[in-house]
Amino acid sequence: MAKKLMKGAEAIGEAAIRAGCRHYFGYPITPQSEIAEYLSRRMPEVGGVFLQAESEVAASNMLFGAAATGTRVMTSSSSPGISLMAEAFSYMVGAEVPAVVVNAMRGGPGLGGILPSQSDYFQATKANGHGDVHFIVLAPASLQESVEHVMMAFPLAEKYRNPVMIVADGLVVQMMESVDFDIVETTDPPDVEDWAATGTKGRRERNLVKSLFLDPLGLEEHNRKLRRKYDEMEENEVRYEEVLIEDDTKLVAVAYGTTSRVVRSVVEELRGEGYPVGLFRPITLYPFAYDRLREISKRDSVKGFMSIEMSTGQMIYDVRLAVQDLKPVGFFGRQGGIIPTPDDVRKAMLQELEKLGG
């Protein structure tokens, strides 16, 4: 199949199927219910299972159960629903099972609103649940990239035996763009007999999938093992994109997901007009591209950074950690479901440029 015009939610659903995922457990919540709706039609066609859970708590624990058998499995939700999954997410990290989770972030806190947002950044990158837990977090900026992220999320999850989260937002799942599924290779699921709960079949010792370690030394060792996995992720999985960060770039905007598209337009426009601006786009939010950003911040030409987000300022903490005292980090954000307009961003960036001395 060549390029196809699809809605984000459907593209994400289809990508999961292309990735070999045959099990989906989820609970409706705007703006991403169409992922479930699409898969309720598609899964039976490919011999897979779509099951609507009674809640996000149940969905995440179904996900855990299925993942514990080594099955490729996915769930999706949006902010309030993701909060309800926190306990199971922590169990999954603790029990080291792979799975894919999509969060179409919406405005918060509480019931908030149904429009696009990026205010779950902290939750996604630092605290998917209690305990020292991390998911690899991918932030696609287009439907094509969403498809790629979903398709690579499964092998990534399997590689680390750790859940992978894709943070989209209401815009990404609701819009239509053209997508091409064929450019992403699907991989075969790995052999899971050494750890998964699949029945011993008389061939092996029994497997245990668990997160309880009553002996504190055992739990400490387990924590350190997980930490080593995170270190590996931080070593190997950092992904980012640089747009027009050139020798003369003075102001580097940092933005991800939908916001980055708006910023990209503005940066291109400003460049066209001769302004020395660039865009740094984190593709993985965890692990975050600290090192690369820091390198950039050491350039003489670079006078400052600017974190642009749909929140009151969350990624900016990571940007500041990367840049440290080397250069100032400004902020521009919209909240509550409002996607910054190119005008908004243009004004904010020009203002920041001025602060940096033209």
Binding site: L51, A197, K201
Partner: protein
Amino acid sequence: MVTIFTRPDSMFDTPTHYCPGCTHGVAHRLVAEVIDELGIKDKTVGVAPVGCAVLIYNYMNTDFVEGSHGRAPASATGIKRSRPDLVVYTYQGDGDLASIGAAEIVHAANRGEKITVVFINNAIYGMTGGQMAPTTLPGQKTTTSPKGRDVNHIGYPIRMAELLATLKTPGYIVRSSLHDPYHIAMAKKAIKQAFIYQLEGKAFSMVELLSTCPTNWGMTPYQATQWLKENMLQYYPLGVFKTPEDE
């Protein structure tokens, strides 16, 4: 000489962490015997609860998943739906199943998940030190109902077997007891039937087992069995509340 009673094959030869006289040990053995008798050890996956029985996997020689508190039926659903060839059961306490996990058990039963639930009702939170459970009897003292369960404040104990039996979706719902050998034998029959229904792909099944927690009840193990007999049996009548053949 023939050995007519010994530790079942599906159990490891390990002493348990349970308190003396705790009927969790009996329930474990019954499940293991049934697994042995049905020859399904190799394709069984258990889901452990959070409760005193969280370490059940230290004693049962099958694959196991340790669920989160109360959500074992959801995790079992995930397992069974992704691997229908497996025999999947949860083993849950009353705090786990009837309190925090009330939604998950009701919905797993209502969906007719082809899983088996072994439900240990000891009318108390054992593991956390004897707090009130939804199944705690009226007047029963616990660490969070120090003057005894006051039904005017907190309602009557919940009867899960009766509750689930009202669902229209086919199911096998039984209540047995572990307070004496006769009832233990009946309990085993029920557990076996429950697994058979699962193997036949017929229905969700739940076997509620009235159990003792001598430690938190503050009794000797024998006193505990007698207390069960005198108090629990009355409030929690034994019997088959539903079979897949009903209706």
